[in-house]
Symmetry: C2
Subunit: 246 residues, 2 copies
Amino acid sequence: MNTSDLNAFHLHRIGTVHSPFKEKFGIPRQSGLIEGNIGQIELLPPWDRQEALQGLDGFSHIWVVFIFHEALKPVEAWRPTVRPPRLGAKRQGVFATRSPYRPNAIGLSVLGYHGWRKENGKLLLEVSGLDLLDQTPVIDIKPYLPYADSLPQASGGFAAEAPQSDPLKVVFSELAQAQLQPAQQRYPQLRRLIETCLTHNPRPAYFGSIDKREHFGIKLYEFDVQWQLEAERIVVLSLFAESLPE
Amino acid sequence: MNTSDLNAFHLHRIGTVHSPFKEKFGIPRQSGLIEGNIGQIELLPPWDRQEALQGLDGFSHIWVVFIFHEALKPVEAWRPTVRPPRLGAKRQGVFATRSPYRPNAIGLSVLGYHGWRKENGKLLLEVSGLDLLDQTPVIDIKPYLPYADSLPQASGGFAAEAPQSDPLKVVFSELAQAQLQPAQQRYPQLRRLIETCLTHNPRPAYFGSIDKREHFGIKLYEFDVQWQLEAERIVVLSLFAESLPE
C-alpha cells in the first residue's frame, strides 16, 4: 500500500474530561504527582457502550489520548521550538517536549483507572492522576501495558528527574478554612488537591519576580482559590465559589 | 471555553515509518520484544526541521503516535468489541485492547531512539523496537519521560504478562543460509530479526490447526521469508528478494 496520499486524518471526539482544573494555570505537569486530582471521562454517543470497556477492569491504569483544545493553531503557525516552563527561557525542539504547541495538538496522559458507572444515562470512567483541563476532548483510551509501556531504565534528558517539589508549606487562612468545610462535603479531596497543587507549583521560576503582596488565583472545580506568598509559605486566603456555566 | 462543538479534528501526517515489516502478518505485538527491528522515521516537510529535534538526544526512548492506516474504517463500521489475537476467540472491549480497529485508528508505540541524520535531504530519526508497518503515517513524536510514563507497579489485566515466548527453535535451510549471507551485507541484523520474529510468533494459537507440510511466508525488507514447522522447529526454507516498488 502506498500511503503517501494519506496526509490528513479526521478524528472524532469520543469523550470529554471532567476535571477540577478549569483553567490552564495551576494544572500539574504530567499526571501522578498530585493527590486529589480525580475526575471522570464521559464517553459520548455512539461510543458510550459498556461493551467497549469489557476487560478494562483488570487494568490499574489507562492511556488517554486527547486534544490540547486550547492550543489548536493553524498549521502555518507551527514553530519547531518551544519554551518548556521548567527550563525557563531555553528553547527546545517541540519533539523533545510534551508541550501542547505541536504540529498536531495531541496529548498523552497515563491515568489511574477506577472503574466505570452509569449516571443519568452517561457512561463515566472514574480516573485519578488527572493533569487535564476540564472539557478536554478525548480521542482514544487504551490500557496501560506494563510489560510494553513501563521502561524504568529509560533515560530522560533534561526532564529525567521528576519536577522538584517546591518546599513551600501551604497554610489556610481562617476564612479559607471556614470556606473549605462545606466545600469538602462535596469534594472530600479538595484540601489535598489545593495543597499539592500549590506545593508542586508548576511555575517555581515565577516566584523570583513577583510582588509578594500580590494575590494569585487558581480555579479548582467551581472555586476561585486565592493565595499569596508570605515568608516562604503559601497562604490560601479564600476559596469563593463561582457560578460556572453548566 | 465550551468545547462541545469541537467534535472533529484534522490531523496532519508529520512523518513516515521505514520498517522491515512490509505486511501486517508477522509484526511483533508491542515493541521491544524483538531484536533487529530497527528502522527510521522520516520527518516530512514542513516538519523536517532539525531544530524541532533539539534536546531529543538526551532521551533513550520516544513515543510515536501513528495512524493504523490499514485499519481505517468509516465511523459507522465501528464495533465496541474486538478479538485480540492472544485471547483467541474471546471478545474484549476495544478500549481494553491495543487493537488497530478502534473509534480513532490511533496507535502508540515506545521506540528506542538513536539520534537523527540527514540523508539525501531527508531528516531521519533512527529507531529500534519497531512494531510498525512500513509506510505507517506518524502524527506525533514525544520524549518518553520515565518519571511520568514508567509505572512498573501498574497491573495489566489479561495482558499483564509479556506474550509467552514460543519455545520453537528457528533453523535455516542450506538455501536460506546461502541467501542470508549477501542479504546480511545490507541488513546485518536480518538473521536475528528473522529468528526473533519467528520465535516470538505472534500467532501461537494458529499452530494447532495448520497442515505441517504447509509453507508460510513473512515479508521482511524486500525478502519473502518462507518457513515451515518441522518436528517442533521452525525451518526457514528460503528468503528470495522481491522487487518492491520504491
